[in-house]
Subunit: 192 residues, 2 copies
């Protein structure tokens, strides 16, 4: 019984996408990873289209149980955050069209889940996700590693009963299969 999570680190210039299968004993295996990039020279509509088409392709190809997206904050500079938010909107809507639940996680939640500390740097996340997924070499660029880390974070947090629904109440968007998985995973954790 595995949970397949597609993680997305949204952005217009580099949008990281990673697919991970996580077993109920928390063992995580990479299925696929990639980065979709567009140039700031391209018009915004074309940039968003490239991301929309890529995410459609990944969702149709890998059929994840859940989509995990980085929660966007406005601490970044104004023009960057707008693009990140617009890209994330496109990604979230693509999952929603397919009835795939969407979960949002903050960068510090990802750092905490993967490295044990919410204030780790990007290098630490890359290093640990490489180890967690038993990869021969670290996923590059960092956006690809972040997407994988997001996916793993989601599976581990979902297992511990964290909210899967994006902004709504609690676990309302958990499918019965996900709920069963979460419960089994929580038991496996406690048994250690």
């Amino acid at each position: 019984m595995t949970l397949r999570v597609l993680g997305v680190d949204p952005g217009l210039t580099r949008c990281g996408i990673g697919v991970v299968d996580v077993e109920r004993n928390r063992r995580a295996t990479m299925v696929a990873v990639g980065v979709v990039g567009t140039s700031p020279e391209q018009p915004l509509d074309q940039r968003l289209l490239v991301i929309a088409e890529a995410i459609d392709e990944w969702l149709d190809l890998y059929k994840p149980d859940v989509l995990a997206v980085e929660r966007v904050f406005s601490q970044l500079n104004v023009s960057t955050v707008m693009g990140v938010a617009q890209a994330s909107g496109v990604v979230i809507a693509a999952a929603a069209r397919r009835g795939i639940p969407v979960a949002l996680h903050t960068p510090s939640e990802v750092k905490a889940a993967v490295t044990g500390s919410g204030s780790s740097n990007k290098e630490a996340v890359t290093k640990l996700i490489t180890k967690i997924l038993r990869l021969d070499s670290p996923p590059r660029p960092a956006d690809a590693a972040d997407a994988l880390a997001l996916a793993v974070t989601h599976a581990w947090r979902a297992g511990s009963g964290a909210a899967v629904a994006s902004t709504g109440p609690g676990n309302s968007s958990l499918t019965p299969a996900q709920r069963a998985w979460a419960e089994a995973e929580a038991k496996a954790r406690r048994a250690r």
Copy 2:
């Protein structure tokens, strides 16, 4: 020879949509107007889905020559601006999927085009757009009026040679028909 513009004032709680036909003598006629609303109680993915499906419907039904969207600024409060940007991303990608050019206009560009002053208030925009479109009563809520004002602004500015492309260089996304319209409209303006 008319230009059909679909204007969108993006938002998660209220997304204004308006369709306007503008002749080359600058006479503008309302074709349709509406507001898509979602509740903050709904999960984000469901809110974005409602907007995605609505915009798909409007684009397919009214087949606009161009989509005009309000350019999002981060002066609003953090959580609002994220939702507005995410909604605008979904709307822009929907047009891009159909090969419909997308144009962004700032609120002050809209105010200036419709009322003659970039610092007018929302009431003035509603009042003037009601007059411009020869409507019996003002479009409500304000988001609906804003969407119509955006559409008219785009046609009038496109006519005067303003950029149609979103973030890219100049008029690169003008179709030949739009370019012809823009030139004819510019001539009509000068003839006055």
